[in-house]
Amino acid sequence: MVTRRRFVEGMGAGLLLSASGRPLFGATSAAAELIGPSFDLIVDTLPVSLTGAARTAVAVNGQIPAPTLRMRQGDEVTIRVTNKLREQTSIHWHGLIIPADMDGVPGLSFGGIAPGTTFTYRYRVNQSGTYWYHSHSRFQEQVGLYGALVVERRGGERYQADREHVLLLSDWTDHDPEHIYATLKRQSDYYNFGKRTAANFVDDVRARGFPDTLAERRMWSAMRMDATDLADVSGYEYTYLMNGTNPAGNWTGMFKPGERVRLRIINGSSMSFFDVRVPGLKLTVVATDGQDIEPVTVDEFRIGTAEVYDVIVEPGDAAYTIFAQSMDRTGYARGTLAPRAGMTAEVPALDERAILGMNDMGMSHAGMDHGKMEPIRHAPAESGPIVDMRASMLMVGLDDPGIGLRDNGRRVLTYSDLATLGGPIDARDAAREIELHLTGHMERYIWSFNGQKFSDATPLKFTHGERLRISLVNDTMMTHPIHLHGMWSELVDARGAFLARKHTVIVQPGQRLSYLVTADALGRWAYHCHLLYHMEAGMFREVLVS
């Protein structure tokens, strides 16, 4: 404990403005820790300068990220959240299995926390692992209301480390998120500066010949889709942060050579997927979404918005760059692991931006054998005007690392590598299946499940106690992180064998995947895409367990 805590001491939040109003640059920050079982959190605005421009964020206890909350498994915790904003706030404990009225979703769990009031969350923490918390009110998560939550396992960690660091990744904008949302509605490709140009066409003709290039372009053109649409909001708008520090600020985590260091990596961004690696070090992944897995050693992994991975590294006597490039390769969050202060390592160049292929679009390549494919059933509403495409072939497996990570020469984690210890929480097979399609219209910037926006849909009904299978089919060209509140999503492979227990499951374009859910949590729950603007645009359902 002492060793682990040492690194936290004396490290304030480097993004705060100093008393003179000038930003404090270069300070290595880590969110202060608060240790339970009793917590006091104050939500208020905070002047910050994360890019050099003075802006107003929403912070907890004057910090971005919010303080890391450290709890002990089995404790009954009390968290008093005081709202000093002029608008409603809320805090959702992402990944914690707690009663519905403690889950923190205004309108479903409770009435929100009104300005000037204090709401007391009280619940028993039965699980252990790395989680996080964030606002579930409008765009407050985008402007700073997110923090790590670490539950220490009773009896000690299963995978021992000598030291640990929380790495909370996020995306910061100097603009009002309301403006970003409105901009996406006005011109949905506004932030994409990685489109294919006439010069790319000429290059492709040289490489693949004119007929193939033309045929490929015509296919995309006929679908009215863009093969470069990997992120709705890019590094053009965002500055990617690691523990609230921009890449130049270089957040640094210290270690002693020979130590085993646990990194608790949380994607607390609003709209960004990160591909994370530490050049020079193998990453031994020991947990995902707070749940211990059989260790698997990789060079790199993709972390979807709201996902969590714990990795253990064994650094030598050198500095190492922690490199988290955005999926669309428009920027990166960066930090350093160093044995001594001030050391840095080379920052790798961004990888080349990937181009979506027909497989990613759930479309077949010419000449492929269609005979073995089961037909895909689309809901009637998917034929409506708010859905721009429907997959006809689902070829992307769980062993696919995802767009931009295929065949990159590195060992990249895939979902098929995950094996959560202890197996599923419920040995029963699913008694029924709910198939949900992830749908949308990129050009109109409308997102939905089964072609129905939240406002047009009725709640999904689960019967208390049932074990059911949810199958997600991605009918869009984007990768979506889908988060079910209140109940675990127990990912299974194509044959139905258990892989991993997760709270947020990313579904790649052109992919169908399934997870089992035990509906043992009475109440009303949120179920949504964790890309914040997708959620706001309608990719949200209420789940009612009764």
């Binding site: 769990s109 039965n126 009215r224 005007p385 708010i386 060992r411 590598d417 202890g422 209140g486």
Partner: protein
């Protein structure tokens, strides 16, 4: 290969626990909620959730604010569009026209409503007033707008006016990227009329075709200066009427302008 035996002790521990059948899931179902949110309307819930997928947005776009090097001197042209609404329904306003030093030559002001009907198309209905040279003409129009394959922004509207007049107007425009910010916009506009309207120098049939190429530099997405050229041709009776009045039946002009939106 994929499981690296770096943590032998830990693995052994975990495996032992599994072998003993010890539950490692740590899963305890949550207690039922003690308090419930009261039943409320969608509006109320949206207010409380801060989620609003029915929110209305608006956009004002000056697609063309330009100077043209016309045969008869400088000409100033505009083409502005605005919309406001939700995902399904929008109201819209369009203003297009041009003027020389002393007079507005052509002006079209149009407003109406549109609704999405399929993934790529909307129907629209509106009222239009043509001003400029000659008497004003009023129209009621219906048609569709949308995105044709190839990302071609398409409009086709059929109009009915006074005295049995009818008109068809179709526009097509697209974007061709040279770089991420240097964009060529080809634009084609076709106008046709059901019967002669000599006072407006219009003959029945396809009366005019305008083809423009505008090369813009998106300094920001919202603000792009451009250079271009535009060719306008008049046909049939329209061309004859223009020639009789001493105007050319076709014209090629250089132009420069800005495209801006908010």
């Amino acid at each position: 290969m994929k499981r690296q035996p770096s943590f032998i002790a830990a693995l052994a521990c975990a495996s032992l626990a599994r072998a003993q059948g010890q539950s490692q899931t740590e899963h305890v179902p949550p207690d039922p909620p003690q308090t419930h949110v009261h039943d409320m309307s969608y509006r109320e819930m949206v207010e409380m959730m801060g989620m609003d997928d029915r929110r209305r947005f608006g956009k004002v776009m000056f697609d063309r604010l330009e100077w043209q090097d016309a045969d008869d001197g400088s000409r100033y042209a505009w083409d502005a569009r605005a919309w406001y609404g939700g995902d399904y329904h929008k109201v819209w306003l369009e203003a297009e026209g041009d003027r020389t030093e002393n007079a507005t030559q052509e002006s079209r002001l149009e407003a109406g409503w549109e609704r999405i009907i399929s993934a790529w198309w909307s129907v629209r209905a509106g009222l239009r007033r043509d001003a400029g040279e000659g008497p004003a003409r009023d129209w009621a129009g219906v048609g569709f707008t949308g995105l044709a394959p190839g990302f071609i922004d398409t409009r086709a509207i059929l109009y009915l006016g006074d005295d049995g007049r009818s008109a068809l107007r179709m526009t097509f425009e697209g974007d061709l990227l040279f770089t991420q910010r240097l964009v060529l916009q080809p634009k084609l506009e076709l106008d046709g009329f059901g019967k002669d309207d000599p006072e407006k120098q219009i003959g029945s049939g396809l009366s005019s075709l305008e083809f423009g190429l505008r090369l813009r530099y998106e300094w920001r997405r919202e603000f792009a200066p451009y250079l271009g050229l535009s060719w306008t041709g008049h046909f049939g009776e329209t061309a004859d009427l223009r020639e009789a009045a001493g105007d050319d039946s076709d014209e090629l002009t250089w132009l420069a302008g800005v495209r801006a939106w908010f």
